[in-house]
């Protein structure tokens, strides 16, 4: 491995800008770090270069731990977005800078310089000053300069940002050729997904300081695991569907699921439908793909090779089909069609069409949508507008529904609404929080979020479960939440009794198991803490310790629920309860 990052964390003013990133990059690999601005990708690159330190974690280059090694001793070449050429030096002096520092003889320097100039096709430009070169040529000089001292790793920080499209294309090709010829391990940082696709052997996608997913470009595009990656890499329609024993039921269509569900019962899932996988036709019978619903053409944009459509879905049939957008506005479906498809069936704005889907990818995310539940419609609406909830929903591009249960919390009273609970049910935390939670959990709600009225996005998410059968669901949901919230994850292990008790070694093992499972199955890095004593009391105490915390709690057993969790659901902080019955 050329570059190994192990749990690298970088804090800025107390908040993580790079959050627990672990990554292995192989010899000669061209790795692209892709993400929106502010996702921490540049900071991570600077940490690899040694220009900024890390607060936690380890960085190794070619097996050498360089975490505390100065930038000038790391043997990396770095290319900046704005070239950063030494303006008062000629091209030759710029390129030879690293060689002069190393006191190389003039003859050897000249020879190396000629070699590099040939490599970046700038022969004969030795005597020019940077100001006399075009942007593309300056960046070529910067690449040559970064390679002069034969670094083991080449780092490129948005190197094409300041160039126009044509030059960019050309320089991309040059850099890829140089990289192949030298076989040098390269990391490129960019926010341009097209660039990432064009250059990468492997792409890693970052958001909010976390490395969300990595893989080969094709793999990531066709099988993303998270909403963010699905929508950031190309366009995507996120559609809520139901997983049934027969397959994925999406709109009117039932599509065979590519990946089998892990034996779980019927539940709501989030699916990704790429715009090019949507088919439109005059009638349902003309569709060659499975019929989804009907809709109205809202907009037709001609973009050359492709045509882009926006379709308004028929609200009568499946008004809440799309995961994002709230219920009031009609959701829109994005479609792209080739010339060939356009010739087959021409569409105009205002036309009613039948919509089919050719391929559906189910996101493995356990969080689909939210339903705000309260005793009266007004209270449910108020809860729906809660700050943290709307923020979460916006980040997860999902919708918030409402549900009124007049008898919420009254024991023995039946459910008013349908007896299936879809997605995550949200209630207001407070004195009656625990009672209402038990009521809903006993009637089939599986994931339940109790929100204090003034809750904000947490800085730390505490994770704990009572009972082993809730473990994997709790970890999966924690990982999903933490992908949308820039917070630190902490697993709380609680061992009954005191530190000296014989249960101690067992508790430690549980802790380590939890940590490694989170990492292996969910890509979730968490810190661990071990506490001794009574479970609920320890949780309540730990939550009271600092503001800005959230608890994700897995439970299996509902006996005495109200008494046990009364204190926790009082409203000190948001609590997400994951209920999975004992297997």
């Amino acid at each position: 491995m050329s570059i190994v990052l192990d749990q690298v964390t970088k804090l800025y003013a107390g908040a993580p800008v790079v959050n627990d990133v672990s990554l292995d990059i192989g010899d000669g690999e061209f790795f692209v770090l892709l993400g929106p601005s502010g996702s921490g990708k540049s900071t991570l690159l600077r940490a690899v270069a040694g220009l900024s330190g890390v607060d936690h974690g380890r960085i190794a280059l070619h097996g050498r731990d360089v975490t505390h090694v100065a930038a000038r001793k790391r043997g990396v070449g770095l290319v900046f977005q704005n070239y950063a050429l030494f303006q008062h030096m000629s091209v030759a002096d710029n390129i030879e800078f690293a060689l002069r520092v190393r006191r190389m003889r003039a003859r050897a320097r000249r020879q190396r310089r000629q070699e590099l100039l040939r490599l970046v096709s700038l022969e004969g430009m030795d005597e020019r000053l940077p100001a006399q070169l075009s942007g593309g040529q300056q960046q070529r000089v910067a690449v040559a300069r970064a390679l002069a001292h034969k670094p083991e790793v080449l780092l490129l920080d948005e190197p094409f940002g300041a160039l126009d499209a044509k030059i960019r294309e050309e320089l991309r090709r040059t850099i890829r050729e140089v990289q192949r010829e030298l076989g040098i391990t390269t990391v490129l940082v960019t926010h341009d997904q097209e660039e990432a696709f064009a250059m990468a052997d492997r792409i890693g996608i970052m958001n909010l300081g976390r490395l969300l997913e990595m893989g080969e470009p094709h793999e990531l595009y066709s099988r993303p695991a998270t909403r963010f990656v699905a929508t950031f890499l190309g366009a995507a329609n996120l559609i809520l569907a139901r997983r049934t024993p027969d397959g994925i039921q999406i709109g009117a269509a039932t599509v065979a699921a590519a990946e089998r569900a892990s034996g779980e019962r019927e539940n709501e899932v989030v699916t990704v439908v790429r715009p090019e996988e949507v088919e439109v036709a005059a009638t349902r019978a003309d569709l060659s793909a499975g019929y989804l619903t009907s809709g109205v053409v809202d907009e037709v944009v001609f973009t050359g090779a492709l045509e882009r459509l926006r379709l308004r879905l028929d609200p009568a049939e499946h008004g809440t089909l799309l995961a994002f957008g709230d219920e009031d506005s009609t959701p829109a479906l994005q479609v792209t069609r080739t010339q060939h498809e356009q010739r087959g069936f021409e569409v105009h704005p205002g036309q009613i069409v039948a919509i089919g889907v050719r391929r559906v990818h189910v996101l493995p995310t356990p969080l689909s949508s939210f339903t705000a539940c309260a005793g009266t419609a007004a209270r449910a609406e108020a809860l729906k507008g809660q700050l943290l909830l709307t923020e979460l929903a916006a980040r997860m591009k999902t919708r918030i529904g409402t549900r009124t249960e007049p008898q919420l919390g009254l024991s023995e009273a039946p459910c008013q609404g349908s007896d299936t609970f879809v997605g995550t049910t949200v209630i207001a935390a407070g004195p009656e929080g625990a009672q209402q939670a038990e009521w809903l959990l006993r009637r089939g709600a599986r994931d339940l979020l109790a929100l204090p009225a003034d809750a904000r996005a947490p800085q730390r998410v505490l994770i704990h479960w009572t009972g082993e059968s809730a473990r994997s669901a709790t970890l999966a949901i924690s990982a999903s939440v933490l992908r949308h919230v820039p917070a630190e994850a902490v697993y709380l292990g609680i061992v009954a009794g005191d530190a000296a008790s014989p249960a101690h070694p067992h508790g430690m093992r549980e802790l380590l198991d939890a940590r490694s499972e989170a990492q292996r199955s969910h890509g979730l890095e968490m810190r661990t803490e071990l506490h001794f004593g009574d479970g609920e009391r320890q949780l309540t105490r730990r939550l009271a310790e600092a503001p800005g915390q959230m608890l994700i709690l897995g439970v299996t057993d509902l006996a005495d629920f109200t008494q046990r969790f009364h204190g926790l659901l009082q409203g000190a902080c948001p609590v997400l309860i994951v209920h999975r019955g004992a297997a």
Binding site: A70, V76, L78, N82, A92, V101
Partner: protein
């Protein structure tokens, strides 16, 4: 150069004419009067006045102390500018504003203030006295006053140039293996050197012409702590206008030669940089 770019100000003819006229009235005419006045002296009188031991002593002090003051400002002014540009700290704005204070203060006030502090019974002077260091009424005091009043010039000349030096350049040098000192010497210094020299020149010019603040702290002992501008005033008070003009002419010539020399060095340095990049 057959056609000129149109610009928002009226044409070249008008602006050049104005420049010439303005410079003539404000700068050249008074200087000419000075030369003429000195020229009306007898040669022997001129030599006597200009090369008298007292005059030579004053030249040495005036130019020596000014050069020293400009050199001190070169180092410390650079450090101040660096601190203000590179670091963010509480009170930075206030310190930034304080730099300009010597500009705004009547120089006599600076002189009186310095004397109060550095006189033998002053706040600092009383502690320096036992150490055998006398500041007020010696050449040290003169240098101190000149340093104070010429300091803003260096800082204000270097500051914008330092702002121009991007962090990226240092980081690039660092990843290429350069130590901090090496990067400073080869990257930062060459980039800001012209500005530093400009600051030095301005400081020096200001110090040579200074009068108000120095006379309070200098003590004005002939041959020892008497600066040339003061000698000129003494001549004037004795109604010896020609003598004053003669001394003024000498100052003018020496200043001009020194400023020209610095400018030449600056130009040569710039060429050498481009030349180095052969």
């Amino acid at each position: 150069m057959s056609f000129r770019q149109p610009s928002i100000l009226p044409g070249f003819g008008l602006t050049f004419g104005f420049t010439t006229l303005f410079l003539s009235i404000i700068v050249l005419l008074p200087l000419a009067a000075l030369v003429l006045s000195a020229a009306s002296m007898h040669w022997a009188d001129f030599v006597n006045t200009v090369f008298s031991a007292r005059a030579i002593g004053s030249y040495r002090l005036s130019f020596g102390a000014s050069l020293l003051a400009a050199s001190i400002n070169l180092v410390f002014g650079f450090i101040i500018a660096w601190t203000l540009v590179r670091y963010e700290f509480p009170g930075r704005k206030i310190i930034d504003a304080l730099i300009d204070m010597p500009f705004a203060l009547p120089t006599a006030v600076s002189g009186i203030a310095l004397t109060t502090v550095f006189a033998q019974n002053g706040w600092i002077g009383q502690y320096l006295e036992p150490l055998g260091i006398k500041v007020a009424y010696t050449w040290i005091g003169v240098t101190l006053a000149l340093t104070l009043i010429s300091m803003p010039f260096t800082v204000r000349a270097v500051q914008p140039a330092l702002l121009e030096v991007q962090r990226d350049l240092e980081e690039a040098a660092e990843t290429l293996g350069a130590s901090r000192l090496y990067a400073f010497r080869r990257i930062i210094l060459p980039t800001v050197l012209p500005a530093i020299l400009t600051g030095f020149t301005l400081s020096f010019a200001r110090a040579v012409g200074e009068y108000g603040s120095v006379i309070f702290i200098a003590g004005n002992l002939p041959m020892k702590t008497e600066i040339t501008p003061l000698l000129i005033v003494i001549h004037l008070e004795q109604f010896d206008y020609q003598g004053a003009a003669a001394l003024g002419l000498v100052m003018l010539v020496i200043s001009f030669v020194m400023l020209l020399a610095i400018n030449l060095i600056q130009g040569w340095g710039r060429r050498r940089h481009v030349g180095l990049a052969r």
